[in-house]
């Protein structure tokens, strides 16, 4: 391995591990600014994580081993998914033919473990949150799959590094409308997967409005830190996917790639913040409609490609 490749891998790994907690801070900052407030500092989540790691934990009497498994698998799954996404420059740290299935599988595994942990607490309230999460995930996952299928078909590649790499500008030149639809659908899926506003409100603690937040109510201390970190990494994974897709795979080099990624992530966080500031949360019965709409959009994009 040459020195260049080593430096490149180190940069990719450092960005993946250290950058994610910045994103929720950026979103919160955008929301605060739109509302005319000062808002918390953008590095608030780093401080929160450090504080939580120093604390002890309180645990439900009925909770067993899966209770600890949830946060660990959630964070690990998101990190492993992050290895597959070509963040600063293609290829990603890990890439092979068909790794898009591994990406969705890792995200699903994280969700499965979180749901198990929620059910393990024995609280009916958390069971309700788990049921909601799984219901909406069953609609968001097909949309995500079809989005990746569209990308794969447009670029003729089967690995994430290929489809978000050098083949992408050519695909944009030929299939701009379909890829745009795909990006919109992917954004909706990203909002749903990260429990952002039109689907779920990450800031409330009201039982009527909670989906993801309910499931992690019983976690405390280092476990909660892992949950928050895992959520941030998941946001980073989707942000990096969208950044690569919308910026047309701009910059294959290490520096230009990193700059493009930072720009794209900033835009992503800004857009999420603006959406959260300008929209109310949808009623629970309307959420499937939004997700089915995203699925139909991505399928339409696919039909445009294959006809």
């Amino acid at each position: 391995m040459t020195l260049h490749a080593l430096a490149r891998a180190a940069l990719q790994l450092a960005l993946l591990v250290l950058l994610p907690p910045l994103l929720p801070g950026l979103v919160a900052r955008v929301k605060a600014r739109v509302a005319g407030r000062q808002g918390p500092p953008v590095w608030q989540l780093y401080a929160d994580l450090a504080r939580l790691c120093r604390k002890g934990e309180v645990k439900s009497l009925t909770a067993g081993a899966p209770f600890h498994l949830g946060p660990v698998v959630g964070a690990a799954g998101a990190l492993a998914a992050g290895l597959l996404v070509p963040g600063p420059g293609s290829p990603a740290l890990l890439s092979f033919q068909g790794d898009l299935f591994l990406l969705t599988g890792l995200l699903a595994a994280g969700r499965f473990a979180t749901v198990l942990a929620a059910l393990d607490t024995g609280s009916a309230f958390e069971g309700m949150g788990a049921a909601r999460e799984v219901t909406f995930a069953s609609l968001a996952e097909p949309a995500l799959f079809v989005c990746l299928l569209v990308l794969s078909r447009a670029t003729g590649e089967l690995s994430l590094s290929g489809m978000l790499g050098p083949a992408l500008p050519g695909a944009w030149a030929q299939w701009a409308p379909a890829l745009l639809l795909c990006a919109v659908a992917l954004f909706v899926v990203a909002l749903a997967e990260n429990s952002r506003i039109p689907v779920d409100d990450p800031t409330t603690h009201l039982e009527l409005t909670m989906i993801h937040e309910v499931m992690v109510l019983d976690h405390s201390g280092p476990d909660l830190a892992l949950v928050l970190y895992g959520a941030a990494v998941k946001l980073y994974v989707f942000g990096a996917l969208l950044a690569r897709l919308t910026l047309g795979g701009a910059g294959q080099g290490i520096l230009s790639g990193a700059l493009g990624l930072l720009l794209g992530l900033g835009l992503f966080a800004g857009t999420v913040g603006l959406v959260e500031s300008s929209m109310a949360r949808l009623r629970l019965v309307r959420v499937p409609q939004l997700l089915v709409g995203a699925g139909v959009l991505s399928l339409f994009a696919f039909v445009l490609l294959v006809r």
Binding site: L181, P288, Q289, V296, L299, F300, V303, L304, R307
Partner: protein
């Protein structure tokens, strides 16, 4: 030019999806008005090389005035008069109708290329967009309860027919086109009066209540 026309066609299909999924009548009326205005761009974008400027402009302006401005105004008026603002419970729910609409659009885009046409196709998406818009309109007319949304469905249906008619616009005298638009206007006008009567008789716009009528 064709890239721009492609965008217009895709936007028209997007509006189809939006109308299928929206429960607020005001937003749906706005969307159908936008669809009418987009359709008014098409005759100009798809104009042949040996251009009949007056003909193309008349088609486009007529569509804009009737579909984009006149009829939406009438519908907003009807909505205000009858004080309905949303479709509460359609016969076919929003998610199933969105899925059905998506299915129809996919079939239209997948198979429209194989249809034998009497005239050469002006744009690869033209027939597909027309078929999917007609399908959306049919779904809306059949599955919605409120009279205003049924009229909207009829309008979407007519928009689809208009797109198909663009295939023949080189041969059709503009008088025919004007007659069609006038008919459409008259139809919506009559429907407005019907809506008014339904509202006065039942103090609701639910067309299901019409079956309670006896001689």
């Amino acid at each position: 030019m064709t890239a721009f026309a492609q965008t217009v066609f895709i936007l028209v299909v997007m509006i189809d999806f939006f109308v299928l999924a929206s429960s607020r009548l005001k937003a749906a009326i706005g969307a159908v008005a936008a669809q009418g205005a987009l359709l008014a761009l098409l005759p100009i974008l798809l104009a042949p090389q040996e251009l009949h400027v007056a003909h193309v402009l008349a088609l486009s302006l007529g569509a804009l005035l009737v579909k984009g401005i006149g009829i939406p105004y009438l519908l907003r008026w009807a909505m205000r008069e009858a004080s309905v603002s949303r479709e509460v419970e359609p016969v076919v729910g929003y998610v199933p109708s969105l899925v059905l609409g998506g299915l129809g659009v996919m079939l239209a885009f997948a198979f429209s290329a194989t249809l034998p046409l009497p005239t050469p196709e002006k744009h690869p998406y033209l027939v597909a967009t027309s078929l999917s818009t007609v399908w959306t309109g049919l779904l809306l007319v059949v599955s919605r309860q409120k009279a205003v949304s049924q009229v909207l469905g009829f309008l979407v249906l007519e928009n689809g027919v208009f797109v198909f008619g663009l295939l023949l616009s080189d041969f059709m005298p503009w008088m025919v086109e004007a007659g069609v638009l006038l008919d459409l206007f008259a139809a919506v006008f009559v429907m407005g009066i019907v809506i008014f009567h339904i509202h006065r008789t039942f103090s609701s716009l639910d067309t299901g209540k019409l079956s309670a009528l006896r001689d």
